[in-house]
């Protein structure tokens, strides 16, 4: 699936400059990079939340894009109602919630969930829909080890079964090793590495990537 080259400029400062890319359905593409490198900006452009410079559309066709923001927002209703929002199917909603181990919170107000629980609620809510592209912005950032494992399982399974393009922004090297097929590496808004995750991790071409990976290796 083709994605156009896009740039984003805020007040004269270009914070993102991405070339045209090709994403393959059924594969998970991780996006890594330091804070402020432009990961969220890219995710938002792909999701259509933010307009790229020149109003360039990221996709040529009318691909449906599902997107989980970095900060999950619980709507003022129960956890189940939040999950059961885009397509009404209670049984499937509860099933998804069970997969992420939040089914016991079904009747609780979503606003009262913890950070990790809110993120799992948001993930279940998003996975209720059918999308050609899924963009997840650091979904496991506030989750514990068990929830992270459940989430990674769900992401892998959903990607293979639905054959959708899965773009996963993450800070975790281990997560990339566990789930990613491909990897994009951003540095100060520029794409400095891109290819199969294993190759990029084992033989990065740029000094900045090496340094970043060394840090994460600690």
């Amino acid at each position: 699936m083709k994605v156009n080259a896009v740039t984003k400029t805020y007040e004269g400062k270009t914070v993102l400059r991405m070339p045209a890319l090709e994403f393959e359905p059924g594969r998970i593409c991780a996006v890594m990079g330091a804070n402020g490198s432009g990961k969220t900006t890219y995710a938002r452009i792909l999701a259509g939340v933010v307009r790229a410079d020149g109003k360039i559309k990221p996709f040529e066709g009318n691909e449906s894009v599902g997107y989980m923001p970095q900060k999950s927002y619980p709507f003022r209703m129960t956890t189940l109602s939040n999950v059961n929002l885009i397509v009404k199917d209670k049984a499937r909603a509860l099933d998804l919630m069970r997969t992420l181990s939040i089914d016991h919170l079904a009747k609780q107000r979503a606003g009262s969930l913890s950070g990790g629980e809110t993120a799992r609620m948001a993930l279940a809510r998003l996975f209720m829909g059918e999308f050609d592209v899924l963009v997840l912005d650091e979904p496991t950032a506030s989750m514990d080890i068990e929830s992270t494992a459940l989430t990674e399982e769900l992401i892998k399974k959903a990607c293979r079964e639905r054959q959708c393009v899965m773009i996963l922004v993450t800070h975790s090297l281990k997560q990339v090793q566990r789930v990613a097929d491909d990897l994009l590496f951003l540095y100060k808004g520029e794409l400095i590495e891109h290819g199969e995750a294993k190759k990029v991790l084992s033989s990065p071409t740029r000094q900045e990537t090496k340094q970043f990976l060394e840090f994460l290796g600690d």
Binding site: V49, G66, Y67, I86, V135
Partner: protein, 228 residues
């Protein structure tokens, strides 16, 4: 003063034809005008607070300015438009309950709009980003925004009602404070005080203060819920 207070309390407890008529007219005017203002103002506030379009800022400034419009100016405007020689004179609405409601609606809509706009603009980015990410569009996003603002809508209604009940400038000008017809609590207080008969004035004042107290307690409780 003590006897006036005693008499006033007796009047409230015993009830009098005129007092209950004043209360009825007041309820009809204030409840209707605040409700109509809410129905018109909330969608405008939702739109202004959540969508960016050309002229949005200007509209927000206008709405905030109109919020401070003196009721007398609003009354004057309606008086001129609906008096015998005015453009709408033929509708013969001057000195009726209907025009009192109309004037108050115009007076209160900016309060509703500004209140909603301020609240919605704080939550709208996150709500819209989340809704967009879920593939939700158009009306469904506004339904979600309204659902997120339910307590704020209640609070805004109470403030609108409080303003309507306590307002005197507009209703006295376009209503004329005609006994048994367009006399509301605030205009009655003025009228009876001018005549030197304090009893009814004090009774009405007590009722007004009680309403105001109840409204403010409710608003405080709602805001406690909101901040959680």
């Amino acid at each position: 003063m003590k006897t006036a207070l005693q008499q006033a309390l007796e009047l409230i407890i015993g009830g009098s034809g005129e007092l209950s008529n004043i209360l009825l007219v007041t309820a009809r005017v204030s409840l209707t005008s605040s409700l109509v203002s809410l129905i018109i103002g909330v969608p405008i506030g939702l739109l202004l607070g959540s969508k960016s379009f050309f002229g949005r800022r200007a509209l927000v400034v206008i709405s905030r300015t109109l919020m401070g419009m003196p009721p007398g100016v609003c009354g004057l405007l309606f008086y001129m438009m609906f008096s015998g020689v005015g453009p709408f004179g033929r509708y013969k609405l001057l000195f009726t309950v209907e025009i009192m409601i109309l004037a108050q609606v115009v007076l209160i809509i900016p309060l509703v709009v500004s209140n909603m706009e301020t609240y919605v603009s704080r939550i709208s980015d996150q709500v819209r980003e989340t809704a967009r990410g879920l593939g939700l569009k158009g009306l469904r996003v506004y339904v979600l925004l309204a659902n997120e603002s339910v307590y704020q809508i209640f609070t805004t209604y109470l403030l609108a009602f409080a303003r309507a009940v306590a307002e005197v400038g507009a209703v006295s000008m376009v209503g004329g404070a005609i006994a048994w017809k367009t006399n509301v609590m605030t205009t009655a207080i003025m009228l009876y005080t001018n005549r030197g008969s304090f009893t009814l004035g004090v009774a009405l004042g007590l009722i007004l203060m009680t309403i105001s107290l109840a409204v403010n307690i409710l608003v405080t409780l709602l805001q406690r819920r909101l901040s959680r």
